[in-house]
Symmetry: C2
Subunit: 357 residues, 2 copies
């Protein structure tokens, strides 16, 4: 039996002003007609029906999230009273699944990524699920790099355990986000994969690894496990969840255990990390102007990214800008300045304009 565990707790600010406290990135329709969350649930449907989809999310946006996926039972939506990082979130989901079936395989993935070739994605995830079902190990999905990214962690592959594609490897090492030259060497060497945040494991296997490597988390989860799936779930989470240790599942478990394998995946993938990332995803006119939810009329305008909320966007003598219009905000930003959006949001907060955050 398989369950999809969708990690949807993020509050991402990099898509502000489209993303808000109560409408984070995963709930946005940044591409196509469905939100990133909806696309994620849809994508997993061939592997797991809605009643075997578990979503871990944050209290701020739990209500809006539930409205977007009415097919998923309300009790499958696990609401974190406050964020405790991914080890607690993945552990909570595993504990919830284990109450039903400890040997069930959890297919864990973020709610806010985009996948290019969904057929290849599914067959790769099935491969990971088979490995997780057959072995007492955590299976992580490593993505074959397509450029020398410095914004992702890398997984260095060890010996092949099962040939592919997609091949299953031992993990030689995890590496932090690299410097550009190191990233180039990873890309050239062919032995490093992007750490994608997608995993497969049996619920009981993850819980066991947590017990070994994060005993205080294991203890906390044990204290709330028996109320999961009952009417006491919400109250118990409210009391106990905020006391769980906050650490990432990568750092707290995956990088510590020897019981880990990696599937070398090759499907097209984007973590949709910023407005800048949309340049490759949205349709462009001949001048490199990309637009979503709107239409561009440009004159001497090139390489702009526009999310116009259905408006006609007219660009005259404008290059390399991000333009985003919502009901209450208009953002115009040089494309190279996306990293500074966080500072701007701090300024807005300090100016007492919180309503716009």
């Amino acid at each position: 039996m398989m369950y999809s565990v969708i990690m949807a707790g993020g509050r991402g600010t990099r898509f502000w002003p489209a993303s808000r406290r109560q409408r984070p990135k995963q709930l946005l329709t940044l591409f196509g007609q469905r939100s990133l969350l909806q696309r994620t649930v849809d994508r997993m449907a061939p592997l797991t029906p809605p009643e075997r989809v578990v979503v871990v999310t944050a209290a701020d946006h739990a209500e809006a999230l539930a409205e977007q996926i009415p097919q998923v039972p309300a009790k499958n939506i696990l609401v974190e009273p406050e964020g405790r990082n991914t080890a607690a979130a993945a552990g909570l989901a595993a504990a919830w699944v284990a109450r039903r079936d400890p040997s069930a395989v959890c297919l864990v993935l973020p709610a806010d990524h985009l996948i290019d070739d969904e057929g290849l994605f599914l067959s790769t995830f099935e491969r990971a699920a088979e490995a997780a079902a057959a072995q007492d190990a955590l299976i992580t999905m490593g993505l074959k790099p397509t450029f020398a990214a410095t914004g992702y962690g890398y997984i260095e592959i060890g010996p092949v355990l099962e040939p592919g594609p997609p091949a299953l490897h031992q993990v030689a090492a995890f590496h932090e986000k690299p410097e550009p030259a190191v990233a180039e060497s990873y890309l050239a060497g062919g032995r490093h994969l992007w750490n994608s945040g997608m995993f497969a494991w049996r619920a009981e296997v993850l819980l066991k690894e947590i017990e070994v490597h994060l005993p205080s988390l294991a203890e906390g989860l044990a204290g709330l496990a028996e109320d999961l799936g009952t009417e006491r779930q919400e109250g118990t989470l409210a009391r106990h969840y905020p006391r769980l240790p906050a650490i990432s599942v990568d750092y707290g478990v995956l990088e510590k255990t020897k019981n880990i394998r990696v599937v070398a995946a090759e499907f097209g993938w984007s973590d949709v990390g910023s407005w800048e990332a949309m340049a490759e995803l949205w349709d462009c006119d001949g001048q490199g102007n990309a637009c979503h939810q709107g239409e561009i009329v440009g004159h001497d305008a090139k390489d702009n990214l526009v999310s116009a909320g259905g408006r006609l966007a007219v660009l005259l003598g404008v290059d390399n800008q991000v333009v985003v219009v919502t009901d209450d905000v208009v953002l115009v930003m040089d494309r190279s300045r996306g990293q500074e959006l966080g500072e701007i949001l701090k300024t807005i907060k300090d100016s007492g304009l919180d309503d716009h955050l």
Copy 2:
């Protein structure tokens, strides 16, 4: 007895996308809380009560216009079935006023200008009105130039007839929009005034001058005059007005007659000719960012002009742009490119996006 004759037929495109076919510039609130038209009617109130305000406007926006100035009687709003330039419009208003009182003074002014010192404006217009009442002459308002403008026509003053300020002069000559060097010499010489489009004349005097210099217009006006102010006004205008000759009152009458005087006015004035003009009218932050209907949070952003429709405007690494957001359009334009807006509108029309015009 005085009447204000407000010329409100303009369809100006230079404030697109705020200005539209059915909501031209004079109906926009570009400054403060009231539209340019409302400000114009308000400004004239100390001289002429609403029942002595006459507005000449275009069929496209007559309804929206009437809604903005409910205090002005509906019969005082003269609707041009199609635009026939300012000689016909001014002549029509004079004919309408003359039906009540041929010796009444018409204070003629555009609906879409801004005035800085309204006290000085009123006392100057009163001076013009006195001259118009006492003399069988057309009185034009010439504005003392504050910079070497190349976008306005100039009036060269002749001998002083009555000392000022504001002084009343004979008119030596009219001059077209000058080259920059000529404009500099006008500014330095002190004998040239901006032709402002504001006038004072007795209704009977203008009609007499039209008879002399534009006999075909005089004939056309005579043919519809007796229905003005009656229930037949609209039908008569629909039939006869489109056949009137289309010529400006400046070119067709003022530049031809000897019976013309100029008042040398010194009040602050703007014809609000483009988004660029708003730079001097809107409040700025310390970085030269000017905003109307909204609030700016800028970071490394300077000298931008923003009309955000009440939104928070966030500018990051952006200089010298005009940003305008409406319900259905967002415009981002280099400040130096305002002259090309007309071409853009043509492109929009050619693209079948007329709804946005």
